[in-house]
């Protein structure tokens, strides 16, 4: 056992403060310590993207970061993106366009997709495939995930234009 460290960061707008061993991976902190269970553990080897969260504006696989590295950071998980009563356009589009089957990869998919659309609000199909390549889905064959992201992008762009 090594010394526990004092860690403080923000998750979905809420400040969290705790003591943890440095070897605690962020995904375990979120799921088991903070009960934020949207980010899933799929492969646990940095490949599948089910654990994707946004940290200081970067899409990150939370299985490949120690919680202590995120000390001081601002973290967003799927819980901070939208909920049952206020679905984010991406969540709604995944629902409407069957962008999921078992749903296991979905929180990571949508979390990653929010960042993709932030960086590229109008992506082509190819750009979506490339930008989502760090997230694996074993049910859908990706087709409907891509459709969902395209529809969400269109809806978000239309809403933005209407607001301007």
């Amino acid at each position: 056992m090594s010394n526990k460290m004092h860690i403080k960061f923000t998750v979905n707008g809420k400040v969290e403060e705790f003591l943890a061993e440095p070897r605690e991976l962020l995904i375990y902190t979120l799921r088991e310590r903070l009960n934020i269970t949207g980010p899933h553990i799929g492969c646990e080897t940095s490949h599948c993207g089910a654990c994707s969260v946004t940290i200081d504006g970067k899409s990150v696989k939370a299985c490949t970061m120690f919680a202590v590295q995120a000390d001081g950071a601002d973290i967003t998980t799927i819980e901070g993106i939208g909920g049952p009563d206020d679905l984010h356009p991406l969540q709604n589009a995944f629902k409407e366009h069957h962008g999921l089957q078992c749903g296991y990869c979905t929180p990571g998919m949508i979390t990653r997709a929010t960042k993709l659309l932030e960086e590229n609000p109008n992506p082509t199909e190819e750009e979506i495939r490339f930008g989502m390549a760090g997230n694996i889905c074993r049910c859908t064959g990706y087709q409907n995930i891509i459709k969902a992201i395209q529809h969400a992008a269109a809806e978000m762009n239309a809403a933005k234009e209407a607001a301007e």
């Binding site: 090594s2 010394n3 440095p22 490339f130 760090g134």
Partner: protein
């Protein structure tokens, strides 16, 4: 997959990093993006009792484009290389390579310094840096020194950097002519079965200089002066390309692994080099 316990440090300056390395010797390692090191720690293939996180050290994340050289800080991420506008113009091969590394999430975290210092033959930046004739700058207890990328790699995971030294930046001469980084991989996020970095200068239809290095075809990246010589003075026609492929095949030494047997790797290496040369030439 939980790594063995370790002590974590996040020093604010390089002097503190160096004194931690001196204090803990072999038991200490620096961490950049952690996307090679953490997976190894989780598999317990790397034992790091003292982990020194470099994220708070100032001055390691700059990209400086000068008249003749480009200096890239060790903590510049692959994503930084991709999104830097000036760089896409000054050295497009950096962006082209970074886009072929791993996947988006990994590229936000993985750094140039970690990629070149790691010493994994599968990493793409070492071959690229050999092609570009880069210089690695390191700092240690006896001060700073420079090491040529072409002399940096000794064996898998063994480099000319001493354990108590930290890599601070990589500097390349501004590349000239046409470029290509061509990589064969089984899927996105996979390391190369074979990859080639090529930079070619064309004058009046003739190749006046060429630079060629290969990735993951030996336990170190392979810079191939003989393949370069086969192109220089030619119009990079089929015969010249075949001669370059032949010369390159004499320099590499692939191992059989889950990406295929040796004969397959030699075949793919040839195909990939041909594509890289043709694309670089078409852009020269």
């Amino acid at each position: 997959m939980i790594p063995a316990a370790f002590e974590y440090y996040r020093p604010k300056d390089m002097a503190s990093v160096l004194s931690l390395l001196e204090e803990h010797g072999d038991d200490a390692r620096v961490m950049a993006g952690g996307h090679s090191l953490i997976p190894m720690m989780k598999l317990r293939m790397a034992d790091v009792p003292h982990l020194i996180d470099l994220q708070d050290i100032d001055g390691l994340s700059e990209i400086e484009i000068g008249a003749d050289t480009i200096k890239i800080g060790a903590m510049v991420t692959q994503m930084d290389l991709i999104s830097h506008e000036g760089l896409a113009d000054a050295a497009p091969i950096l962006r082209e390579t970074a886009l072929q590394i791993a996947d988006p999430q990994v590229r936000y975290m993985g750094t140039v310094g970690g990629n070149v210092a790691n010493g994994d033959p599968g990493n793409d930046m070492p071959g690229l840096m050999q092609c570009l004739d880069a210089t690695m700058s390191v700092i240690g207890p006896d001060g700073a020194r420079d090491i040529l990328a072409r002399e940096f790699y000794e064996a898998a995971y063994m480099t000319a950097r001493e354990d108590d030294e930290v890599l601070t930046s990589v500097t390349i001469p501004r590349p000239k002519g046409g470029h290509a980084y061509e990589k064969q991989k089984r899927k996105i996020g996979d390391y190369a079965t074979a990859a080639a970095a090529v930079q070619i200068v064309k004058e009046n239809g003739v190749c006046t200089s060429a630079s060629i290095a290969m990735t993951n075809l030996s336990d170190i990246p392979i810079h191939s002066p003989d393949a370069e010589a086969a192109l220089v003075g030619t119009a990079v026609d089929d015969a010249a390309i075949k001669a370059a492929m032949q010369a390159m095949l004499g320099d590499i030494d692939p191992n059989e692994d889950n990406r295929g047997p040796v004969a397959f790797k030699n075949h793919v290496a040839g195909v990939i080099l041909r594509r890289a040369i043709e694309r670089a030439w078409s852009r020269a």
